[in-house]
């Protein structure tokens, strides 16, 4: 009797783990900062793991942001190529996520920000259940055509800094269309993390695909 009750509670779903990858400076941390108030309003219990090369830069930035209690953010120092700790050997990140989950139970969602990398970076599905790849328009409108694995395989592709398109001569609708063209039907969203434009759609996607709220 006690045993079957234990078996039932033990099978409670774990928090969803969502990866955020993308080139240096594309707006990964800005995306998290924009999403935090939205998830807070939705009542989502959230924690964050950040990865930086040899510092805790992004973790400290989020801890100081006032958008989330500091103890809900953990920084992992990759010490190597950023993709190593999200793909080849994600042990450090898995341990950080396990720790957060243990300490902050009940938790709905853990966001894991990779250190800025190149277009080839992808997440191991041993680490995350779902991953987003953030590129920005200032990298050039031809980026999607270059078909990096991050762009092709991510569960959700985000084209950020839409506000900069006119300044860098990028045809945003075309860039989006080409991105959709290489992704076999997987979604592409356009955002402006400065103003928060498009972020509600990102939150909606996560709510549907991993939080199973609708």
């Amino acid at each position: 009797m006690a045993e079957s009750a234990e078996a039932l509670v033990a099978a409670a779903p774990s928090a969803a783990r969502v990866g955020i990858g993308g080139p240096v400076g594309s707006g990964k941390t800005a995306l998290i900062e924009g999403l935090l108030p939205l998830f807070a309003a939705r009542g989502t219990s959230l924690a964050i793991v950040t990865n930086d090369l040899v510092t805790q830069e992004d973790a400290e930035r989020l801890q100081r942001s006032g958008l989330i209690p500091p103890e809900r953010v953990v920084g992992v120092e990759a010490g190597a190529c950023p993709h190593t700790v999200i793909r080849e050997d994600p042990t450090l990140n898995i341990e950080a996520a396990d720790l957060l989950e243990e300490q902050l139970r009940p938790l709905d969602l853990i966001l894991i920000e990779s250190g800025g990398d190149n277009l080839a970076s992808t997440f191991s599905l041993d680490l995350v259940d779902y991953w987003m790849f953030v590129i920005d328009v200032s990298g050039g409108g031809d980026i999607p055509r270059k078909r990096g694995p991050g762009i092709v395989r991510a569960d959700l592709l985000i084209v950020n800094k839409s506000d900069l398109a006119p300044h860098v001569g990028v045809d945003l609708p075309l860039m989006r269309k080409e991105a959709e063209g290489v992704r076999a039907g997987r979604p592409v969203l356009v955002t402006n993390c400065r103003t928060g434009e498009g972020l509600d759609r990102v939150a909606d996607h996560l709510a549907h695909d991993v939080l199973m709220e609708s």
Partner: protein
Amino acid sequence: MPKARLSFNRRAAASLASAPHARKLPAMLRLTQILGNATDPDIAERLHALEHDGRVESITLDAADTARKRLRVATDKGTDCAIALARSESLANGAVLLLEEDRAVVVRMRETVWLALSPRDLAAALDLGYFCGNLHWRVRFEGSVLKVALDGPRESYMARLAQHLADGRARLVDEREGG
């Protein structure tokens, strides 16, 4: 510890009831446990009975996707499924996620397709191994044949291998054709 977990359940139930979308009554089927495998004798028996009436639905997944603990997928009959598992659970071929009087849901793993490559000589073998590793391809070694898992469209793998195939450093071995 169990106390904390129970509070998780209460909270989940409460947040579900108060969720803004709750009134929409989505036809989503929540699957949060692996009840066993289709090959377990007693489960197999029950599935067999349900199959007769076409009441077994299947979810087909790529091998790579079975590592996920959360998945939003449709069954072959179009039922919208929300899979959310504990991290200790693992999806596998034959995993049974629902087993009721009138319906069952079973996972079917899509078989991985492998590209079999035979290097011309020792130098080509070293070269090919380095090349595939550099691309982070999933590989298997079978004697002198290097097998590459196709985790994407076959054409994109062939495009990357074009040079190796053209200059004879590697040759495709198609086992199905007895090559």
